[in-house]
């Protein structure tokens, strides 16, 4: 399956061998390259989407003269800042198809990349606090089942059995009425997804170029023919951008606007503790969600900050309200100490669905608008974007997400769902 040469594969045997030899034989997972003057395809942005795209370009389409240009370090954007929830319980059939492809690819990814991405299908649940919420969940569940998604509506009793630390007392602030459960959902290790794709892409000849910031485009006869960077100009037949919260800034360099607004989404982790929560719990009405990492930390998130921002820094007010709500839902967490809090700049679209397709500038293609929920979509996003960059034509699953939907009105509205991750 794997693209890696035999000698650099990770295995029980290689662990044992290196253990006995004093760990001296490991080689770097990927190499740093200086940019060459030209490539077949340049992918801007070394997050999960950019790296996965480069990997599938080489692996599926045999295009090996590919460069990923990353202004900082790979995985240092939202991919390395996210709370790693993976699920495919989306309302519209176009979304269900795309996100479920992603879950299926995640299921085989550690093996395919020969890199342990620690995908843990511990299940995710969205808790209903009122009967009205439960009714709208039933409607959503029916729609998802028609799309073939494994989703269950479970009782209060079953919800509390899955997450016994939820407050079940009679006068609690967030009563538990039931939940929407996807058992194939879960979490993965975010850095490992970026690094695993980088390593596999590198072994197929892709150039991963860090510290390389795109500052403009070379345009000839109305078509983009290259990028201008702090490390020189680089020409390419086709250019893909997967720069998440910076998409509008890049679009401005290319001379167009996008239907996106950048906001801060923040997350935080507690001190580590013994295993006490073996599923992902999300609240539909207050947006707060929590899971326990393999290190034992509680990984906590909530809704967006309120004002447009590129600061990669969230306001204390949101931190405070997320934590206050969490403690109402899980009284036992009130004694935990908070270890870290951070923010990422997410690119929200009007219908909470991604933008995938040709941009208004010929030769430049878009993979953006994933907003608060694109980590789960990395394998599928890479698959469809690689096809677009290799052939110039949409993958059947990405056509609906084309930019043209904003002119035709065929929006794929996922904003009603409440849960955004």
């Amino acid at each position: 399956m794997s693209a890696l040469p035999r000698k650099s594969r990770y295995s029980a045997w290689s662990l044992l061998r290196e253990g006995l030899r004093g760990q001296g034989g490991w080689t770097p997972a990927w190499r740093d390259h200086d940019p060459e003057p030209a490539y077949d395809v340049v992918v801007i942005g070394g997050g999960g989407h950019g790296l996965a795209t480069a990997y599938y370009l080489a692996r599926t389409h045999g295009i090996r003269r590919v460069a990923v240009l990353e202004k900082g370090w790979i995985g240092g954007g939202n991919t390395g800042r996210n709370t790693t929830i993976i699920r495919s319980n989306y309302f519209n059939p176009q979304s269900a198809a795309l996100y479920d492809l992603s879950v299926r690819l995640y299921e085989g990814l550690s093996r395919e990349l020969n890199y342990n991405i620690m995908f843990s299908q511990r299940g995710i649940m969205e808790v209903a606090h009122t009967d009205a919420e439960l009714e709208s969940m039933a409607r959503a569940a029916n729609a998802m089942r028609i799309s073939g998604i494994d989703i269950e509506l479970v009782s209060r009793q079953a919800t509390l059995a899955l997450a016994p630390l939820l407050d079940a007392s009679p006068h609690c602030r967030w009563p538990v009425r039931g939940a929407l459960v996807q058992r194939r959902g879960g979490t993965a290790r975010h850095d490992a997804v970026a690094w695993g794709y980088a390593r596999a892409a590198d072994s197929l000849g892709v150039h991963i170029i860090q510290g390389c910031e795109v500052q403009g485009f070379e345009i000839e006869a109305g078509r983009v023919v290259g990028v201008r960077t702090n490390r020189g100009n680089i020409r390419a037949e086709r250019i893909g951008m997967a720069v998440a919260g910076n998409s509008s800034v890049m679009a401005e360099m290319a001379g167009f606007t996008l239907p996106l607004q950048s906001y801060t989404l923040q997350a935080m982790v507690s001190e580590p503790l013994k295993p006490c929560l073996d599923t992902v719990v999300m609240s539909t009405s207050n947006g707060v969600y929590v899971s326990q990492s393999d290190k034992g930390e509680m990984v906590i998130g909530g809704n967006l900050d309120r004002s447009p921002s590129y600061a990669q820094r969230g306001s204390f007010r949101v931190t405070q309200s997320v934590l206050a709500t969490l403690v109402e839902m899980f009284p036992a967490f009130a004694t935990l100490k908070l270890m870290r809090q951070w923010g990422g700049t997410v690119d929200t679209s009007p219908d909470n669905s991604p933008l995938i397709g040709p941009s208004p500038l010929p030769g430049l293609y878009l993979n953006c608008g994933w907003g608060t929920g694109g980590f789960k979509a990395i394998p599928a996003g890479g698959t469809v974007f690689a096809q677009l960059l290799a052939t110039g034509r949409h993958h059947e699953l990405s056509a609906a997400f084309d930019l043209s939907r904003f002119a035709t009105g065929e929006l794929i509205d996922e904003s009603h769902a409440g849960v955004q991750h």
């Binding site: 509008s248 606007t257 004002s307 590129y310 820094r313 306001s315 007010r317 904003f406 002119a407």
Partner: protein, 84 residues
């Protein structure tokens, strides 16, 4: 918490204000094309740096104001009553 200066109420906590979109945008006329309307509806300048934004002092005087704010560091550069 951040302090936003309201032209009528003075310095107030940002929690009292509600973001209302890009102040540079204007609604096209009734005879506009579909493309112009779609552009108005969905496209965003989404400026990195100084942006001119509409905010309402919702939990205060209720007035709409224009705030010039740096989206890269959240600094409020100027506030004025809404000009249109």
């Amino acid at each position: 918490m951040q302090i936003f200066p309201c032209p009528s109420c003075g310095d107030r906590p940002d929690a009292e204000f509600r973001y209302g979109g890009d102040a540079r945008k204007s609604r096209p006329g009734r005879d506009c094309s579909d493309a112009e309307w779609a552009h108005y509806m969905h496209q965003r300048a989404n400026t990195r740096g100084e942006a001119l934004e509409l905010w309402q002092h919702a939990a205060g005087c209720g007035r709409w104001i224009e705030i010039r704010r740096d989206t890269a560091n959240h600094a409020v550069v100027a506030t004025e009553p809404m000009t249109r």
